[in-house]
């Protein structure tokens, strides 16, 4: 079982987001970067599948050298080797094209992505990657079991869930449920030591072009101060919801 986990290097969930002067990009100063939380569920799932079926877990990301600590963290958690596609991506379709170009012919049985990254919230790469590789795709995947060359998956739907079967290789857009929060692994000292010597290959890009670009980033307008209403006067809340907010 050869498993690839696609990882995004993203600001920590609690990071204060600031944009550079001119608002053209994220200002990374003072921001702690982490493995995208959706990808963490996928990485743990990949390690569990390797323990059950044997094989290897490779992690891949697309970024410049500043993303390497995130790849080393994935190696410390238990991945066997890492690949960095050397460049700075600006568009989801560009990322999907470069990932597909790398993956073609490598013989991966399973490719796990997070269903979206918590930075740009695109959610496009997993499906686009599956289409470019002409492989089956399960998004919002909250359960996955393998039997021989068959996968049984569970996906989240609006207000429910759906079971699916597909043949490997398969591309998954995963989220919590793939494994539980309590199963997530953190690096131990031995993991951190061995991660230093595990292979991290730096691979050149094939020149896929970006189809979109960010013209500007702004922050949402700050919310007006809360209107506190005395708990003995709930009719007043109802009145304001009706007359001011017009939501009832």
């Amino acid at each position: 079982m050869k498993i690839l986990v696609c990882i995004s290097h993203v600001p920590d969930t609690t990071a204060k987001i600031q944009f550079t002067a001119g608002g053209t990009a994220l200002d990374p100063n003072g921001v702690q970067f982490v493995i995208n939380p959706y990808d963490e569920f996928g990485l743990t799932k990949a390690l569990q599948l390797k323990e059950k079926h044997g094989g290897s877990v490779t992690v891949i990301t697309y970024g410049d050298a500043t993303v390497e600590p995130t790849l080393r963290k994935a190696l410390a958690i238990g991945a066997d080797d890492a690949v960095r596609l050397d460049g700075v991506p600006t568009d989801s379709m560009q990322v999907a094209s470069e990932l597909a170009a790398y993956i073609s012919g490598q013989g991966f049985d399973l490719i796990i992505c997070g269903q979206e990254s918590i930075d740009y919230n695109g959610g496009v790469v997993p499906g686009a990657l599956a289409a470019k590789l002409r492989l089956p795709f399960v998004n919002a995947c909250i359960g996955l079991d393998l039997e021989g060359s068959q996968a049984q998956a569970l996906r989240e739907m609006d207000g429910g869930k759906e079971a699916l079967t597909a043949s490997l290789p398969l591309v998954v857009g995963g989220k919590k449920g793939l494994v539980e929060e309590s199963e997530l692994r953190i690096p131990n000292m031995r993991g951190i030591m061995t991660a230093r010597t595990k292979p991290l290959a730096v691979t050149p890009l094939t020149g896929a072009t970006a189809l979109t670009g960010a013209a500007a980033f702004t922050k949402p307008a700050p919310k007006a101060a809360v209107q506190l209403i005395d708990s003995s006067n709930l009719d007043e809340l109802v009145r304001r919801l009706h007359e001011e907010a017009k939501v009832i």
């Binding site: 930075d119 496009v124 089956p136």
Partner: protein, 316 residues
């Protein structure tokens, strides 16, 4: 021209479908072109009724009765190419999100998701989207000949429908799924959270799952969906499918009532698109009050039943 994927669920249009059709029609009008909708699979309401939301024509594709991303994407992409679509509009429902990336790749299109408004210009296409879990707003530009635009459900709302009928055409096509959908379990009678216009949500302040009847009664009076915080789903008081927040479901209702939820930044990331936020918490220092429009400092077990009664009196 603009092509809209008019999603159906159990043979009927979803509310978010009308929003997507109206959005596509507005894009078409701004460019002096027409909006066509594509319906895939069984559909009970007459497909020409989408004319009421601005579709000039509806193409109804027959040949499958289950959603499968590869099969749907390939059929919609060939239609988009045949018609020369410059935008393909979808609603960001669960199926819409599954479809977006696959469809963009099949249609040789760019993809812009989390769209929150109409394009500010069409040459090049520039549109506002939400990024950084609602902590940033991006003006995103597409340089591709065709762009898949995925809307955040409820972000724009639906306008009054007209009585206009669309032209329609039935076609039978061969679908080529790459996976096999099996058993689907959907909670019956519940409003899917991403579509709910009102959501009542509760956290650990409810002290235990046995007290959720208070939340459900309030939700029922408001015809609202019910949701919960991450700790509540992690400890199993409520199903994961109700967890709203950064790694759960993102929602954009008109009204969000948060009861006994402190308002961690990860929770806010999933709900800050709500138009009006009401926070009920016994801790006046709860950070959620800073993100709220209306706040009530008080004990949920005292406030919620009285609020339910007050709303019932108002709405009756």
């Amino acid at each position: 021209m603009v092509l809209i994927f008019a999603e159906t669920w159990e043979g009927t249009f979803k509310k978010s479908t009308f929003e997507a059709v109206q959005y596509g029609a507005a894009c078409a009008q701004a460019q002096g072109t027409e909006a066509y909708a594509v319906v895939v699979g069984p559909c009970t309401p007459p497909v020409e009724s989408l004319g009421a939301h601005g579709a000039a024509k509806v193409i109804h594709l027959h040949g499958t009765d289950r959603f499968e991303p590869a099969a749907f994407a390939s059929a919609i992409a060939s239609l988009a190419k045949e018609l020369g679509a410059t935008q393909i509009v979808l609603s960001g429902t669960a199926n819409g999100k599954s479809l977006a990336g696959v469809l963009a790749a099949e249609a040789d299109a760019a993809a812009i998701t989390n769209v929150t408004g109409l394009p500010s210009q069409f040459a090049p296409l520039t549109v506002e989207r939400s990024a950084f879990s609602s902590k940033g707003i991006e003006q995103c530009t597409s340089h591709a000949a065709c762009t898949v635009l995925v809307l955040i459900p409820n972000a724009l709302g639906t306008q009054q429908a007209s009585t206009q009928q669309a032209g329609f055409e039935d076609r039978t096509v061969t679908f080529e799924p790459r996976s096999t959908p099996g058993l689907a379990q959907v909670a019956s009678g519940k409003i899917p959270l991403p579509e709910a216009e009102r959501v009542v949500s509760a956290g650990r302040g409810m002290k235990g799952p046995e007290h959720w009847n208070l939340i459900e009664e309030l939700a029922s009076v408001l015809s609202a969906g019910t949701a919960c915080s991450k700790p509540v789903s992690d400890i199993g008081w409520r199903p994961h499918s109700e967890h709203v927040g950064q790694t759960g479901i993102q929602i954009n209702p008109q009204l969000y009532i948060a009861i006994g939820i402190s308002g961690a930044i990860q929770h806010l990331a999933g709900v800050s698109g709500s138009k009006t936020i009401v926070v009920i918490n016994n801790d006046p220092e709860a950070p959620f009050f800073k993100a709220a429009d209306y706040g009530i400092v008080g004990d949920a077990f005292d406030v919620v039943p009285r609020l339910t009664a007050a709303l019932k009196a108002h709405l009756s």
